[in-house]
């Protein structure tokens, strides 16, 4: 299968290793990965912060770039949620039936990374090896918008050497929320502090997740507080094998 990678803007710049991991896993499973260099951003930050008009441009650009892609994978649950929840509404706001049709046609072909593996490819064991104790952060968009449920955990449970410890209060937001974290730094930090307490309580070595935006926020505080606990994207765990680790 030819799978087109939508890396997302922040993964492209800040977390290239996540994109590399997605490529590693999919190629190991025998698929062809393509990367369309004209891609940039889904528009989530602009849309959610109230800059709707700027996000319209990004919507059109996304559709132009990926119009004929067979299957699109995106290793960021909040970006997939942005597209699934808001693209139809945005096309409606623009009162553009052709755009609405394009959105309706492309959405069923977009998969969050764990969705692609479990739903589309029907896999939970991707041959990974990661000899560490890990807990899993659910991410609100993965939980409430994409309804990922147990998909990320199902994948982790099949990883050899990995011990998965359930994170208490997993349904509670970590306090990232995009620009919320900089517009409301004190409340965001208070929410984050609760999340860290839960993570540290598990005694895990690493906190995994399907969205690097939450992980950047959580990992930033784990680092600031010198906890010695790290964050890691699900794809990077799944890319790790006995040979590579």
């Amino acid at each position: 299968m030819v799978i087109s990678l939508f890396i997302t803007c922040y993964n492209d710049a800040l977390f290239p290793q996540t994109g590399q991991a997605v490529v590693t896993v999919l190629e190991r499973l025998g698929h062809t990965v393509e990367f369309r260099a004209a891609q940039t951003c889904c528009g989530q930050m602009h849309y959610n912060t109230g800059y709707r008009h700027d996000s319209y441009t990004l919507l059109r650009q996304f559709l132009d770039v990926f119009a004929d892609a067979e299957v699109i994978v995106c290793p960021s649950s909040s970006c997939v949620a942005m597209m699934r929840d808001h693209y139809p509404k945005m096309a409606e706001q623009l009162n553009d039936p052709a755009l609405q049709a394009q959105v309706a046609a492309i959405l069923p072909r977009i998969f969050e990374f764990s969705e692609l593996l479990t739903d589309k490819l029907g896999l939970t064991d991707v041959g990974a090896f990661y000899p560490h104790t890990v807990t899993l952060h659910a991410s609100c968009h993965g939980l409430r918008s994409l309804h990922l449920g147990s998909k990320p955990a199902d994948l982790l449970k099949q990883v050899k050497g990995l011990t998965l410890i359930e994170l208490p209060d997993a349904d509670q937001c970590c306090g990232f929320g995009g620009t919320f974290a900089v517009k409301n730094p004190d409340v965001s930090a208070a929410m984050l502090s609760d999340k860290l307490q839960c993570i540290l309580g598990t005694n895990a070595e690493a906190c995994a997740g399907a969205d690097n935006s939450c992980l950047m926020h959580i990992g930033g505080a784990l680092s600031r507080q010198r906890t010695g606990v790290r964050t890691v994207h699900l794809a990077e765990i799944l890319a790790s094998t006995e040979k590579s680790s």
């Binding site: 951003c41 602009h46 965001s188 208070a190 950047m216 930033g220 680092s223």
Partner: protein, 470 residues
């Protein structure tokens, strides 16, 4: 017409108010404990309902239908209530409602009133107007009494004194009720409130209430509560005046079947409210012999006019969104600077009053979606928050630095070649702040980030650069 919502117009911006509140460890403990207790109870009584989702859909459908025909149902209510001996007054805004009520109390010759279950009167600041006219209001709902005695403000739409714990309330009662001793148990504290209130229930001739529902078909008014103080307030005085937002009307008596299931389970985790009071006009020889109802607009029709956010008026004031909200759970209600706190307050307050005020409220959310998940009438609060954020930006009220950053980002994202250039600039720009691979003290908009968190330095190679060299 001038719409005001309590004192929201002069409230601190949310981030500033929240900064003070998150530093209060006792308040955070109280709020967390109370919201956890209610959430757990709610979860239990909702799990036992097989048709909960259908009930939510029905509640939403009834509310949406009513709002689409609001004028007709309000007139139907007016006719039915008047026929049953009630007198209906229409108030365009808070000041007009207060004026009507003050005049009525004076006309009936009273200089005191007992009040229950009326957040709407907090919205209009009725107590201030009453006091200015020489009329003493006594709050009789236990939590409202605690707030009034403490010269405090409500912090939750169902549990207004949720930010206070038992020991704080005991101390307050001893001081304000002049008690030399008082036990520590809930029943001791409740008994003190009972003694204090009972005398007023029997003495005061005018009662003021809010309402949960107005029934268009019958002209009836509905109040649900847990304590029975409301029942006394609604039945003992000679005169009853209810102040009710126009969005509280529902078409038929049988629609209560849906809401009397949705509301108690969502609000307090009870299967049914202990007291459900329904009255229709005046019944000779039974209860108040004069009944007035003030139907309040105060910005509601303006909300109704906006198709993207009118479902805000579906709200049945259960408070489930507050208990579920991870932001509210950290700050409590006072941060929202309004009688309406939490996610619903963050969308209701800015819409009711002019958008010059409360501009920070639509941003007081991480858009986690927990509010939408629990809302008994499925109000898509995150979607409305985004809509209101757009209004803040479009009206030119967003901070300049933010607007510039967003424009810059939009420009960079509009073409992949520009994005690559932006990566290069960012890598160059970060070097003064790069401390061994960590950025820990960034300026400007990002200062809020590095106050609490490190940021990894931008990698030397972006994904697209890696891919192109593969």
């Amino acid at each position: 017409m001038s719409v005001h919502v309590g004192e929201a117009a002069s409230a601190l911006p949310f981030p500033e108010a929240a900064k003070k509140l998150v530093a209060n460890s006792q308040l955070r403990r109280n709020v967390r404990h109370a919201t956890n207790v209610i959430r757990t109870k709610r979860g239990r009584v909702i799990a036992e309902m097989d048709d909960w989702e259908q009930l939510r859909d029905s509640g939403k459908a009834i509310k949406d239908h009513t709002l689409a025909h609001l004028d007709e149902y309000l007139l139907q209510f007016e006719a039915a209530c008047t026929k049953a001996g009630g007198q209906v007054h229409w108030a365009r805004d808070a000041d007009e409602a207060n004026r009507i009520i003050v005049d009525l109390v004076k006309r009936y010759g009273s200089d005191e009133v007992i009040k229950v279950k009326t957040m709407t009167s907090d919205e209009t600041r009725l107590n201030v107007a009453l006091e200015a006219a020489g009329i003493t209001p006594f709050e009789t709902d236990l939590a409202d009494l605690i707030v009034q005695l403490g010269e405090d403000k409500p912090s939750h739409i169902v549990v207004p004194a949720l930010h206070r714990n038992r020991m704080e309330i005991r101390e307050l009662f001893m001081k304000k009720m002049g008690l030399d001793s008082l036990g520590y148990q809930p029943e001791d504290i409740a008994a003190a409130a009972r003694n204090y209130l009972r005398e007023r229930f029997l003495r005061v001739k005018v009662g003021i209430s809010g309402a949960n529902y107005l029934i268009a078909e019958t002209g009836s008014v509905v109040v649900v509560e847990s304590e029975g103080n409301g029942r006394m307030c609604l039945t003992l005085p000679d005169v009853l005046i209810s102040i009710v937002g126009v969005e509280k009307v529902i078409p038929r008596f049988e629609d209560l079947e849906v809401f009397l299931q949705l509301l108690p389970r969502s609000a307090t985790g009870e299967r049914m409210n202990p007291y459900n009071s329904i009255w229709t006009g005046v019944t000779p020889g039974d209860g108040p012999q004069a009944f007035h109802i003030v139907l309040l607009d105060n910005g509601r029709t303006k909300v109704l006019a906006d198709p993207e956010s009118r479902e805000t008026l579906d709200c049945i004031r259960c408070g489930a969104c507050l208990n579920a909200c991870p932001v509210y759970r950290q700050t409590g209600g006072h941060a929202y600077g309004s009688v309406y706190a939490g996610p619903i307050g963050a969308i209701l307050t800015p819409q009711l009053q002019s958008m010059e005020h409360s501009q920070t409220l639509p941003y007081a959310s991480s858009l986690c979606g927990a509010c939408y998940e629990v809302c008994p009438v499925k109000i898509n609060i995150p979607e409305i928050l985004i809509h209101l954020r757009t209004k803040v930006v479009d009206s030119g009220h967003a901070p300049l630095a933010e607007r510039l950053a967003m424009k810059g980002a939009a420009f960079a994202m509009s073409k992949a070649s520009r994005l690559s250039l932006a990566h290069a600039f960012a890598r160059l720009g970060q070097w003064p702040f790069n401390d061994d691979g960590k950025l820990d003290n960034l300026p400007g908009l990002l200062a809020g980030w590095t106050e609490f968190r490190d940021l990894d330095a931008i990698p030397s190679q972006s994904f697209r650069e890696w891919w192109s060299k593969r």
